[in-house]
């Protein structure tokens, strides 16, 4: 069996040797594009002046390109159009206004500095609470109260259940703005081929097919005039799924000037590319005497910035929050209002976890607060409320497949030795040291297909994945996938699936992705979906190929198909040493089609599509922290993850996803924050201001896996790409709050910076 092995990643050797090929490696010797960006958050463009003879592109040049209009077909949604380059007005600082082309990137930057844009600044609205204020300026005149989405839902009988409860516990949680901060910023290179009248766009993207569709639609060209390649992509975390206006300009310019051009985003630009989080959840939980949650009322507000991202729209945050806020807890009465709020800040796009890090933070802080109020142990209150029977249908109608919610909590209590910690904690408090423990149990919806996306009511329903699988005459296998991995090691994992199915070595399986000319249409890699959906399609394809090979072998070996066994590159008759190398069967399929069984097509190609409803992973995170009371600094001393993502195809890769995810969760909890001033200027413009944690700030992450047997996917695998990021902030804030419980402090805002914590401490000590 190859599935379940910690196989080294086939992706790594070239990356480690510096032989990777990223967009910037391709973008040599071509025209260099640089964007002139708005220095103001809101204003009227009076004029644009550029040096004579310079190649400058403005909105006027792009008159034939319609604005981008991400759509949701819902009554509670007001669509907002975004021009490719700012037209007449600017709506956030950093918005592209014009583009220049020069022979080198240095000269392009020189030239961009010489383009003078005269802007009459207007009062902006940047802050979430301010944007909802009645007196706030309107970001878009047609959007009243700056509210782009105002969705709500109340279950029948909610009022009675809510008001009849014994305890009401309210929590007000705030997450600040973040940036996904991929190591490689965005960028694209458009090569024009005059012979074919075709552009090859090499772009740092998570979804090459989706990008091709978006660009062809906007430029009004058939998709066949565009090829999109995703080369090595240096991280994305969601930021590279949404359409970049810059990519539209790059392709347009290549066609217009019939030459090769490129845009390579720099770090400062990336800080105003797409943002994330910036949400506030005000939630009241109504509990009965026994600590059981009976009803929940929620008010969710998401600052989505100036525009809506394409294709998933700015609805992705508030609508996911509305549907998934119940999390892993069983209750039947729910009332929620969820809003997307426009502002003169950079647009929001999905970032690892989407709204679930804030959902989990809210729920888990609520559980701890309720436990404290009722004098119940935090672990015990979770036990009383976690979902236990499967399949479970949530109050919002989501179906949870088999999981291990209670078991993962119990296992993590064991791993951290809770009893012992509590004793250590009492001793520490007596010595004036503040250590704390925080739990976070959560569900992670992953690998969902068409049915789930259809419920979102977007213009485009994402969901399925298709693969083309072929064995060539030499017996090696090539799988072409619509998924578009960019660091996840999917080539390695998929090859393990195929190897098991066909009894061959993973080395003989090549996975091809990231090229619209070579791969079937697919949605790309995001939302913890590729192992489930593309993996499922790959398994289906491999099973079909195995059936074909078995048919041929059955004829060759004169044995029944049911008696055949695929093992180490051979098809054997079970219980004998009679067999035939698979490569001989492959050769026969192509070169001796005269010998094929009747009805069998020559060659060995199959196609498969998989489209599951979705599956829920689950996990329990535990953080142990120490707070320096004087400075407010938090040190994460231990971090334990008990994760259940079903069958792990490659446990090493799975652990890597957890490690990276938790590191990004720690980043959200303690470090990363984009700061605007009240005029809408972004103050965090470099990695000295915006602080991803380093290896010195991230502890060793201890991981234990549970494996629930779920039939929600054909591989038994569930997604786990986002779990680390989803669970960690809640565990850490609970741990800080626990550490500071002698002072009665609650920490409900991320990032919990030393200054914020210190301020709470001084307030509690009466020094403020």
């Amino acid at each position: 069996m190859w599935v379940g092995r910690r196989l080294r990643r086939v992706e790594d050797p070239s990356l480690l040797r510096g032989e990777g090929r990223f967009v910037a490696d391709v973008a040599r010797g071509c025209g260099a594009i640089r964007f002139v960006r708005s220095p103001f958050a809101r204003g009227r463009i009076l004029s644009i002046e550029a040096p004579e003879e310079a190649t400058v592109i403005t909105a006027d040049d792009l008159a034939e390109i319609p604005p981008v209009k991400p759509m949701l077909h819902r009554d509670d949604f007001i669509p907002v159009e975004q021009p490719i380059l700012a037209k007449e007005q600017v709506t956030y600082a950093g918005q592209p206004i014009a583009a220049v082309i020069a022979p080198t990137f240095e000269e392009a930057e020189d030239l961009a500095e010489m383009v003078f844009v005269d802007i009459e600044p207007l009062d902006p609205v940047v802050d979430l609470d301010h944007a909802l204020d009645e007196t706030a300026p309107l970001v878009h005149p047609h959007v009243p109260a700056n509210t782009v989405i105002d969705a709500s839902l109340t279950t029948p009988g909610f009022d009675a259940a809510f008001h009849g409860a014994a305890y009401h516990v309210e929590i007000d949680v705030r997450s600040r703005r973040e940036n996904a901060t991929p190591l490689e910023a965005r960028g694209s290179h458009a090569a024009f081929d005059p012979r074919e009248n075709r552009v090859t766009l090499t772009a740092s993207t998570q979804g090459p097919h989706m990008l091709r569709t978006a660009l062809a639609d906007l430029l009004g060209i058939p998709e066949s005039e565009l090829r999109v390649i995703a080369p090595d992509v240096g991280g994305a975390f969601g930021q590279k799924y949404s359409l970049a206006m810059e990519d539209v300009v790059t392709v347009w310019a290549a066609r217009r000037f019939r030459r090769d051009v490129a845009w390579i985003e720099d770090r400062r630009e990336n800080f105003a590319s797409f943002h994330s989080r910036d949400q506030r959840y005000i939630v009241t939980g109504a509990f009965d005497e026994s600590g059981k949650l009976r009803a929940m009322r929620a008010d969710v507000r998401c600052n989505v910035g100036a525009y809506s991202c394409y294709p998933v729209t700015c609805g992705v945050e508030p609508l996911m929050a509305m549907a998934e806020l119940p999390g892993p807890y069983d209750f039947r009465n729910y009332a929620v209002r969820s809003r997307a709020v426009a502002s003169n800040a950079c647009p929001i796009a999905p970032y690892r976890g989407v709204s679930r890090p804030v959902i989990t933070l809210t729920l888990e802080r609520l559980m701890d607060k309720a436990a404290a109020r009722m004098g119940i142990d935090p672990v015990e209150i979770r036990r009383r409320n976690l979902v236990r029977e499967f399949p479970y249908t949530s109050v919002t109608g989501l179906v949870y497949d088999q999981g291990s919610y209670v078991e993962s909590l119990d296992r993590s209590v064991q791993l951290v030795d809770l009893e012992r910690f509590r004793a250590d904690q009492r001793a520490a408090w007596e010595q004036g040291r503040y250590i704390g423990i925080g739990f976070s149990t959560f569900s992670e919806r992953t690998g969902y297909g068409t049915s789930a996306f259809a419920a979102r009511k977007m213009d485009i329903t994402l969901g399925y994945e298709t693969i083309d699988l072929a064995m060539d005459p030499s017996g090696s296998v090539e799988v072409r996938v619509g998924a578009s991995p960019h660091g996840q090691g999917l080539r390695t994992s998929l090859s393990q699936l195929v190897a098991d199915e066909l009894g061959i070595d993973p080395k003989d399986v090549r996975i091809v992705h990231g090229d619209t000319d070579r791969t079937p249409y697919g949605w790309g890699t995001f939302a913890s979906r590729s192992m489930v959906v593309s993996g499922g399609a790959t398994k289906l394809g491999a099973t079909e190929l195995r059936r074909r090979l078995a048919d041929i072998a059955s004829e060759t070996l004169e044995a029944a198909v049911d008696d055949l066994q695929f093992h180490e590159g051979k098809v054997l008759v079970r219980g004998t040493d009679v067999g035939v190398p698979i490569r001989d069967l492959a050769r026969l399929a192509y070169h001796r089609s005269d010998k094929l069984p009747p009805g069998e097509e020559p060659g060995l190609r199959v196609k498969a599509t998989y489209d599951p409803a979705g599956t829920f992973s689950n996990a329990c995170h535990v953080a142990l922290v120490e707070v320096d009371l004087e400075t407010g600094a938090v040190a994460v001393q231990r971090f334990v993850v008990v994760e259940d993502a079903g069958v792990l195809v490659n446990p090493m890769i799975a652990d890597g996803q957890v490690h990276g995810g938790v590191a990004q969760g720690i980043a959200s909890a303690l470090y990363e924050e984009l700061v605007y001033d009240s005029d809408g200027n972004l103050l965090t413009t470099s990695l000295m201001d915006y602080l991803p944690p380093t290896i010195a700030e991230v502890p060793l992450i201890e991981i234990d896996h549970l494996v629930s047997e779920s039939d929600a996917t054909i591989t038994g695998a569930k997604g786990l790409g986002e779990g680390g990021t989803i669970g960690a902030p809640a565990a850490i804030l609970n741990a800080i709050t626990n550490a500071l419980s002698p002072l009665g402090i609650e920490v409900n805002e991320t990032p919990a910076t030393p200054e914020r914590i210190q301020k709470l401490i001084r307030q509690a000590q009466g020094a403020l």
Partner: protein
């Protein structure tokens, strides 16, 4: 984030460096370790027309003792001072502790002592240490050599008493007596970041209490500063928890920090109090 066009020259001795700087005036900039200058050029905050690379001037790379003074050649890399044995006595330990707080390893291997002092970041360790120890800074120009006391050298953020045509050639520090004790405490969000606030102290405890107390702070304004009232509180008194607390309070009273996204004025002042007390405690317990 690409620099504007610039010329580049790499002279091999001090005279030639000074000659070029004199000739080009404001247009020229010395390139030492490049760990501050190159990022500023990429951000287009610095736009020198000519870079005068001094990395080939080997005569600027030394650590020497001359009587009771230590001479540090401007090209001395941060990492050379991480080794406490590079400089004798408590001074060596103090410099090693400070060096370890400067950025990350690759930055320390490349960045230079003199470059940091010339750059004059208000949170830089070497600038604070220079003020703490009353360093003398040697500037060489076409009209010869002059000595500038550290407290006169730092004018405000990124601004010093150096003229554009002058090369910072050396920093002179006093050797500390073996009985001296130091404390160096810094607060930053991540390992390797510039300090939000740093506090450093040197004390010598005699039979009549503390002699020659020195307290310097970084991250509290445009330049590193001495906390003179804290020093006054300490001088002549026997070390004790209350004394250190009183000195720390005095230090907090000595500063009027500027706030920014890394820390408000109020928080920085609070940190001055906490870190100065800790630095004194550390000095008192230093073996």
């Amino acid at each position: 984030m690409k620099p504007p066009r610039f010329e580049y020259r790499a002279p091999s001795d001090v005279e030639e460096v000074v000659g070029i700087l004199t000739e080009v005036g404001d247009e020229g900039k010395v390139l030492a370790g490049g760990q501050s200058l190159v990022p500023s050029m990429n951000f287009r905050l610095a736009r020198p027309g000519l870079l005068v690379d001094i990395n080939g001037v080997k005569a600027l790379d030394y650590i020497q003792r001359s009587g009771d003074r230590i001479l540090i050649g401007t090209l001395t890399r941060h990492s050379c001072l991480e080794n406490a044995a590079a400089v004798p006595g408590p001074l060596g330990r103090l410099l090693a502790t400070a060096a370890h707080h400067v950025g990350h390893m690759p930055i320390r291997v490349r960045g230079t002592f003199g470059g940091s002092v010339a750059h004059a970041d208000p949170a830089a360790e070497w600038c604070m240490v220079s003020v703490l120890l009353d360093a003398e800074i040697i500037a060489v120009g076409s009209r010869g050599r002059r000595t500038i006391p550290a407290e006169d050298f730092f004018r405000t953020v990124f601004t010093t008493a150096l003229e554009p045509y002058e090369l910072l050639s050396e920093v002179i520090l006093p050797v500390l007596p073996d009985s001296a004790r130091f404390g160096f405490v810094e607060f930053s969000r991540r390992a390797g970041d510039f300090a939000i606030v740093a506090s450093s102290v040197v004390i010598d405890v005699g039979s009549n209490g503390i002699i020659n107390p020195r307290v310097a702070l970084a991250g509290v304004g445009g330049t590193p500063v001495r906390a003179r009232s804290a020093e006054a509180v300490l001088a002549g008194s026997a070390p004790s928890a209350e004394l250190f607390r009183a000195a720390a309070d005095a230090a907090a009273g000595d500063v009027e920090p500027m706030g920014d996204i890394h820390g408000s004025s109020e928080y920085r002042r609070h940190l001055v109090r906490v870190l100065t007390r800790r630095a004194l405690e550390r000095a008192a317990s230093e073996a």
